[in-house]
Amino acid sequence: MPDDAAKSIVAPVTVVAGAGQVGKVHRKVDAMERMRGITRYTDDLVLPGMLHAKIKRSPHAHARIVGIDASAALAMPGVLAVITGRDLPVPYGIIPWTPDETALALDKALFVGDGVAAVAAVDEDTAIAACDAIAVEYEPLPPLFDPEAALAASEHNPINPYSRHGNLSKEVLLEFGDVEAGLADAPLVIEGEYFFEGTTHAAIEPHCALAHVEPSGLLTVWSSTQVSHYLHRELAKVLGLPAHRIRVIQPPLGGAFGGKSEPFDLEFCVAKLALATGRPVKLLYTREEVFYAHRGRHPMRMRYRTGFSREGKILAMDARTIIDGGAYSSFGLVTTYYSGQLACSPYVMGAYRFHSRRAYTNKPACGPKRGHGSVQPRFATEVQLDKAAVALGIDPIDLRRRNDLGGDAKTVNEFRIGSNGFLECLEKVEAASGWIERRATLPYGRGLGVAGSTYICGTNYPIYPNAMPQAAVQICLDRSGRARVFAGANDIGQGSNTMLAVIVGEELGLPLTDIRVVTADTDLTPVDLGAYSSRITLMVGNACLEAARKLRKLVTGSVARRWGIPGDRVVLAERLALDRENPEQHVALAQAFAWAEEDHGLLGEVGSYNTPKDRHGDYRGGTIGASPAYSFTAHVAEVEVDPDTGVVDVKTIWVAHDCGRALSRKVVEGQMEGSAYMGFAEAIMEQHVVDPGHGGVHAGPSLLDYRIPTFLDTPELHSLIVEAPDPQGPYGAKEAGEGPLHPSIPAIANAIYDAVGIRMDTLPFSPPKVLRALAQRRAAEAAGQLAPHKRGGA
């Protein structure tokens, strides 16, 4: 009876091909809350009896801690606890092989801003006053700010006390083919030295953590983290608590970009102070502290030799790189590999060698920033190609085409590439920028530059070795016609919650409003490794797809049984279950879910995803940087260089990015624009440096002194989506969050050359540097060593 009633025809329905969610334009599932200002970030959380914590930091770049006297602080009214390094002595590190930091300094402070003690007090002002009242006796040690000087210094007194090789944090030397022979045979060898000065993430939300201990002993830590699972593990390790007594929750984030992808001092401190006081404890970094926490893009000095045939083919490439790591390892082991391993695509190379050394220095530790480890070598690689194109008289886009690796290929370092839309990316930016017509006619001062790149969609091997799935998702349907999705994935603003809703909506015929996505709560959601290396769309997306498809099968089966038709005739779309061959036969999705629940009990399914393990070379380190799939990008940048002031005005960047399949177009375009913006900012203005002349203080730890571009400074950005679906990705999807950043810097550098004939091999391309290079060029022209650039001999 109810079956017949539900079958009753309400109105004619047409099933439109592609009526699902994939490839549509969506409002992000959390957009309206954010726009209305009602999203509750970590710092918005307030618990009864909550205390505030502050960390006392070292004013010395390198100093032995002789003694800490906290008695005056503890005697202050309103101060409940003071902890030092002795209270949290277990070393940790995001990479299990390099645990080389403690929550607070034990015996030595390693940079200006290193934490030495923490206070919990009734309010922030009392906590600040208590920090001031803590007396720390230091014995200053000679600091080392230059990585090559650090590497040359004695092995006996390394900066980092846990270091096993002096100030050498990591060294990787890998060679594929015979590089020296390749270079010797090459008719053209371009040699270049490049310097990337280092930048930070500048997420608008400063790091924040809140800890609370239940009477049962359960410790809950809310943190603005992008790796709740690793934080969970490291908290257990450092606090000496079993993991089941700790719950980590990631509230909505105000940006991360890699700057929140490992545990930080504040999370351990609030947890320890909450355990010590029995009261909730919160700590919000000041902007200055965010600069000290850093983990931004590593400064790299890169010496490259690239050999080319007369036709512009890359015969061999040799890269020697010094990496300035700062005080701790962070992800540095991976960074050191990435600095070489990710440079072998999208081009065919005859032979390739890289030798990268990462040094400890007395500076805030570097780590992963959007495009981890590979933005700097991409700058060097792509400028080398541009120099070769000029030397050989080949169009720079054409030179890249000639070296294209293609799809279903293997890189020189033995990574298996699946789908590859790089040629289409080049075509798109070439056409959209008017490259061929305009580049030939732009006047002196105006120029176009191109660069290409590739990036990973997660890594095949997780950070800590294990054979369990890298991603897992649970989905529950209920009789009201809704779906609940549980995933450990961290939405850091990149839209991964929306991506999960799109997949569930696609498979189950639901609008995004009917899907609740619950993420990043270690008590409620399955383990996920976090938001880094652009892994979520591919890995968590695949896990979600598996679970959603299982549920779809249950639902369509129950409907089909009631209608007496084969299961594959039932389509779920637009809140309905329909008979594909007779759309007038349809029923509300809520009813379809109810039928399935009648048949199967509670409708819940899980999906998990693990990576292929056969897509890399069989050599030590061959797994690092190997990914299930690779994205591809090309940029053309147009610049105007003011020859009198050296100011580079980036007018437009055309960004073509192969994301496999755009699951949600606006989100993909947003990632492409944001990436290009971030790269442009690093090219033109950002500088994360310390001042060696003043004891290694940060050159300006504020958003007034660390300049990120405003809207007025930002170029026109044109996002051109390219889709080369990869069998490894959900619906063919690959990443879009990091890859599109890579070509920004070299495309701008190459455009500057096209505009005025100078090579900017040192970042950032600030006006004084540009002006000096212009003066050198003019002097060389006056001496007859160079022909006038683009000025027809005038």
């Binding site: 930091r57 200006v112 200055e288 400074d713 004084p768 002006l771």
Partner: protein, 332 residues
């Protein structure tokens, strides 16, 4: 987030009430607060009482005083209002331009003309947190006794960074100060002194009530040229005000008087001198721009007190001077 220190706030309704409050020890005047509050967070000042001018209506007027031949702009007029005010735009376009280029729209909505004129001097070694300064041992303007800009220097050279001040001096503006002792009026050209710790002659108990800018009495061309790394938010790194009085209302008319004032050098703005050679020359003569740019370059020596190398900024003073004049000429 950085915390403000504790202080009391008073909100008087008249200048006289405000002056009475300001006579108390530890009192400090505040208008928009866009300069003061960050400095308080950085613990550069610790006043016990902030005397807010927000409710003092007399400070908010812009009126033409035809008899005195001046435009009177209340010190409490916001920078947005100055930049948009029809009288300012009509008579003093370079001032409207400068006011409209201070920081960002949100800051201009809060910040006032009086506040911008009294903007504290700035230095890369001063405008940092108390913790940061403790790492370098402070300096002459903060907790120490050395200068990091001029090693061995005994005089603070923190930079006068107001956008409006060079323009106002070029327009021969005067400031009206009020205190319980009465009032005084003095030319802004005499208002600043070469000490970054106390860079104006205003006594702590004095309130800047208004700025009086003489109305033009003949044809002239004025400009303000600012360069900063970003097109918004930033303080100026290059800051030049130019004023040319002309024999007739055309750019090829002869220059009868010229004033060039440069900011962001040391603690006081510099009025460029020895410009007599251009008097009598047509503004549109390219030699005029060259001559003035050369004088600017010769007389203005930026210091390493603000970002970007001083030699670069010195070179840019000449470039931007030349360009500002070229723009005036092109505009006709």
């Amino acid at each position: 987030m950085l915390r403000l220190p504790g202080f009391e706030v008073a909100t008087p309704r008249t200048i006289d009430e405000a002056a009475t409050l300001l006579a108390r020890p530890g009192a400090r005047v505040v208008a928009g607060g866009t300069d003061l509050l960050p400095n308080l967070k950085h613990r550069l000042e610790q006043p016990s009482l902030l005397v807010s001018l927000a409710a003092v209506r007399e400070l908010g007027e812009v009126v033409v005083d035809a008899r005195a031949g001046v435009l009177r702009i209340g010190a409490g007029v916001t920078l947005t209002a100055v930049s948009e005010h029809p009288l300012v735009r009509e008579h003093l376009p370079s001032l409207a331009d400068a006011a409209g280029r201070v920081a960002s729209p949100l800051i201009r909505n809060m910040g006032t003309l009086g506040g911008n004129v009294n903007l504290d001097t700035r230095c890369r070694y001063v405008n940092q947190t108390a913790f940061w300064r403790s790492a370098i041992g402070g300096c002459l303007k903060s907790e120490g006794n050395v200068c990091h800009v001029v090693p061995g220097g005994r005089n603070c050279v923190a930079a006068m960074s107001s956008d409006c001040v060079p323009v106002l001096i070029s327009l021969e503006a005067a400031a009206v100060l009020r205190s319980t002792a009465g009032g005084r009026e003095l030319p802004l050209a005499e208002y600043f002194q070469a000490d970054g710790r106390e860079h104006t002659v205003r006594r702590p108990d004095e309130i800047m009530a208004e700025i009086r800018v003489p109305l033009p009495t003949g044809p002239r061309r004025c400009a303000y040229s600012k360069w900063s790394v970003r097109k918004s938010i930033d303080f100026p790194l290059v800051s030049i005000a130019l004023r040319f009085d002309l024999a007739a209302d055309a750019v090829d008319a002869a220059i009868t008087a010229v004033r060039v004032v440069v900011g962001v050098l040391g603690s006081r703005p510099r009025e460029v001198t020895q410009l007599d050679a251009v008097i009598g020359q047509p503004l549109s003569d390219p030699k005029v721009a060259e001559a003035i740019a050369a004088r600017v370059h010769a007389q203005c020596k930026p210091l390493e007190n603000v970002p970007y190398e001083a030699p670069y900024r010195r070179e840019m003073l000449a470039v931007h001077t030349r360009r500002a004049i070229a723009r005036l000429v092109a505009e006709g």
